[in-house]
Point group: C2
C-alpha cells in the first residue's frame, strides 16, 4: 500500500453564495491546483449530499470535471450524509494507495440557499431512518436535543458547557477569513444577560440557537497524491496517515447505550491504528460540532479525554487555541459553517494549514499531528482521519 500525501488545498468562503453548485465545487479545486502548482489530475471525487433534492442536479461529478477542464479524468460523487467529505477523502486515499491513480482531487460542495432554514432542516432529516424516525417527524436538532438531555443527566454537562463550546468556536472563526460567522459572542451575551433568551432562544430544549451550526453554502478541496508526486511539490509534506470508518445502528433508539457514540470510538481507533499513533499524539483536531454537545462527546469518544470528562477539559481551557489540545481552531462547523458535503474536506483543509504551519492567527504552535472527525447521520456513519507533518 502506497503512502498518500495532501499536495494542495482550497476553500471558498462559507456563506451564502450566488454561484451554481458545480462552480462552488470547482472554485476551491482551482485554488487547490494553484496551491499544488499542478493542473494534471487523474481522478476527481465530489462530496455532496443534496444536489439531487435541493439543487435538482445529478451527475454532479461529471459537471465538475468538465467545469475544471479535467476531462477525460474519471469522476464520481460520494454521499455519506454530513460525513460525505471525509468519505470522499477516504475513497481518494484508496485510489492513490492502490496505485490505480497517482493524483486524486477531492472536492466537496453544498448549495443550501435554494432552501430556507425550515426546508434545510427537513432536507437534513432525510438522513434519519425512513420508517423508524423520519415518518414520526424527527429532525437532527430534536435528536441532538434528546441526546443532550441524556448526557446532561448522566455526566453533569450543563447549558453553560454548551455555551462555552459556542463561544470558543465562534470566536475562533473570527481568525478565519473563510468562516461563515464573523460575530464575537460571549457567555454573558448568549447565556447570562437579561436579553439571552431573546438573543439565544431554545431551538430544541436544551439546545439553543447558538448551539446549532449555521446553514451555509460553500466548497472545499484537497488534492491527494503519491509520495513520488508529493516530493516534487514545493509545500511542506503532509501525509494522510490514518483513515478509519465505522457505522452504528441507523435508528438512534436501537443503541444499547444512546449516550455512547460507538461509531466515533471505532472510527477513531481504526484511524489511529493505521497511523501507528495514539490520541495523546494529536496536537490539533477538528471535530464535528454540528451541535455544541457533539464536540464535547467526540472529544471523549476519540480518546482525547475520559468518557464523561470532555466538558471538564473544556472548562480548563485545554481545547482553546493555546491549550494543550486545541479543538476546532478554524471555528468548527459552529463558526466556519456547515455546507454539508464540504465539511469533512474543510476539516482536512484546516489540519493541512496547521501542519504546514501557515494557519496565521489561529496557528497551533508546532503542530505535527492533526486529526479530524466527520460525523454522518446522528453518529451512524463516522470517518476519522489522521494527518502527520513530514513522512
Amino acid at each position: 500500500m502506497r503512502s498518500v500525501y495532501v499536495i494542495g488545498i482550497g476553500i471558498t468562503s462559507f456563506t451564502r453564495l450566488e454561484y451554481p453548485l458545480s462552480e462552488i465545487a470547482a472554485y476551491p479545486a482551482m485554488m487547490a491546483m494553484k496551491d499544488a502548482g499542478r493542473k494534471e489530475i487523474d481522478h476527481l471525487y465530489v462530496a455532496n449530499m443534496g444536489s439531487g433534492r435541493v439543487n435538482h442536479q445529478t451527475g454532479l461529478a461529471s459537471a465538475v470535471v468538465d467545469t475544471l477542464s479535467l476531462t477525460p479524468a474519471g469522476a464520481e460523487a460520494i454521499e455519506n450524509g454530513p460525513a460525505s467529505g471525509a468519505s470522499a477523502i477516504k475513497t481518494g486515499y484508496m485510489a492513490v494507495a492502490s496505485g490505480v491513480h497517482d493524483v486524486v482531487m477531492v472536492t466537496g460542495a453544498e448549495r443550501m440557499r435554494e432552501v430556507n432554514n425550515l426546508e434545510a432542516t427537513e432536507f437534513v432529516a432525510t438522513l434519519t431512518h425512513p420508517l423508524a424516525e423520519y415518518i414520526y417527524g424527527v429532525t437532527l436538532p430534536s435528536l441532538a436535543a434528546m441526546f443532550t438531555r441524556l448526557y446532561m443527566e448522566k455526566y453533569g454537562v450543563t447549558e453553560r458547557h454548551l455555551a462555552m463550546v459556542a463561544v470558543k468556536n465562534q470566536n475562533n472563526a473570527l481568525k478565519n477569513e473563510f468562516a461563515h460567522l464573523q460575530q464575537e459572542i460571549s457567555i454573558e451575551g448568549i447565556l447570562d444577560s437579561p436579553e439571552a433568551m431573546t438573543n439565544n432562544p431554545y431551538v430544541a430544549e436544551p439546545l439553543r440557537f447558538f448551539d446549532c451550526c449555521p446553514v451555509s453554502d460553500g466548497g472545499a478541496c484537497v488534492i491527494l497524491a503519491s509520495e513520488e508526486v508529493a516530493r516534487k511539490v514545493e509545500r511542506p509534506l503532509v501525509r494522510l496517515a490514518g483513515v478509519g470508518q465505522a457505522t452504528d445502528t441507523h435508528a438512534v433508539h436501537e443503541r444499547e447505550e444512546p449516550t455512547d457514540l460507538l461509531a466515533v470510538r471505532r472510527a477513531a481507533a481504526k484511524s489511529f491504528e493505521m497511523a501507528g499513533l495514539a490520541p495523546s499524539d494529536v496536537d490539533v483536531a477538528e471535530l464535528h460540532d454540528a451541535f455544541t454537545i457533539l464536540e464535547i462527546v467526540e472529544s471523549e469518544e476519540v480518546g482525547f479525554f475520559p468518557k464523561g470528562e470532555g466538558h471538564l477539559a473544556l472548562e480548563r481551557g485545554e481545547t482553546a487555541i493555546g491549550g494543550t489540545l486545541p479543538i476546532n481552531p478554524s471555528g468548527g462547523l459552529k463558526g466556519r459553517g456547515h455546507p454539508v458535503g464540504a465539511t469533512g474536506i474543510a476539516q482536512a483543509h484546516e489540519i493541512v494549514h496547521q501542519l504546514r504551519g501557515d494557519a496565521g492567527e489561529r496557528q497551533v504552535k508546532d503542530a505535527k499531528v492533526g486529526f479530524t472527525c466527520n460525523f454522518g447521520g446522528f453518529g451512524n456513519n463516522v470517518v476519522c482521519l489522521t494527518f502527520v507533518r513530514g513522512n
Copy 2:
C-alpha cells in the same frame, strides 16, 4: 496492487417493486452473501442515482449497512448517473486492490415507482448540463434521438437496425427470469405490420417506444475480495482484471464530432490495457443499451467492430447468442430493465454468470473473457470493466 475477484452475486427481479429502497439494495446483497457462503463484509458501497430526489432519502448507505446487520462496517453511496453501478464496482476494486479492505460489497438499487414515466424522464434529465441543456428542456430521449439522426446520416444505420437490437435483446430477456420485459417481439410486429405505428409509436423521432429501455425498480450486488479470500469460496474464480473510466464534455453539443463517444473509447481502452487484453479477446459483453442506438455505437467504440460498422455486425447475427460475440445475452437495459443505480452491477452480475458457466439457456459457450460498458450522462462519464475466468 492486489488482484480482485468477484466471490458472490445477487439480483432482484427488475420490475415494479413494493419494498423500501434500502431493502431493494439489501435483498440482492443477501443473495450475494449466500452465493459467496460468507457473511463477513469489510465495507459496503451502494450505487444509486435518485434517492435524494425520487425517494426523499439520504445516507442510503448507512441505512443499507444497518438493514444487513453489517455495522460497524463503513459504507458510502456512489453516484455517477446511470454509470453509478460500475463506478461503485471500480471504487470497490480500489478498496480491495489497495489492501485497505479484503471483502467489499457493492450493491446498487433504484426505486423509480414513486414517479410516473414523465416524471422519471424529467428526473433523469437532471444529469444533463444544468445551464446549457436542462433549462432548455432537453431530455435523454431527445438527446439520443438527435444523436441517432446524425448516426443514420453518417453511417447508414436505419430504423430497421434499431429494431433488430430491440428484438434481439428483448427476446434474450425471455431467457432471464429476473428481466423486466417478458414479451416476445418481432421485426414484423414492431416495424413492418400495419399496426406497428400504433404498437410502437415514435417517442422522439427516429426513436420509437421499443427503442427505449423501460423504467424499472430493482437491485443487484457483487461482492469483491482479495485472492486469499476468493480461493476459499467454492465458486469458479472470476477476476476483475480491468477497470477503465473516462469523461467527456458535459454538454453534448460541445463535442467536436458528436457521433463519436470518446469517453466510451477511452474507458474501454484503459480497461483492456489494465487487463492486458484486446477487444478481440472478449467472448461476451454487456453494453449500455438505454436506447437501441447505443448498443450499436458502443460495440464500435469499445473496439469490437470498426467505427460505423456495428450495425453490419448486428445484421450478420454476430452479436446474437450463438454469434461470434454475443452482446447483452441478459436482455440488456432494453430487456432486463434499467433501475439506474443497479444497472452497472447487473451487467457485472450477468458476466459473472457467463464466466462461471451457469447462465442457463442464455449461456455463451465456453466464455472466458467478459466485458461491460456502463454509460453515464449522455456519454459524459463511462466506466468499462473486463472480467476473466480463473486467474
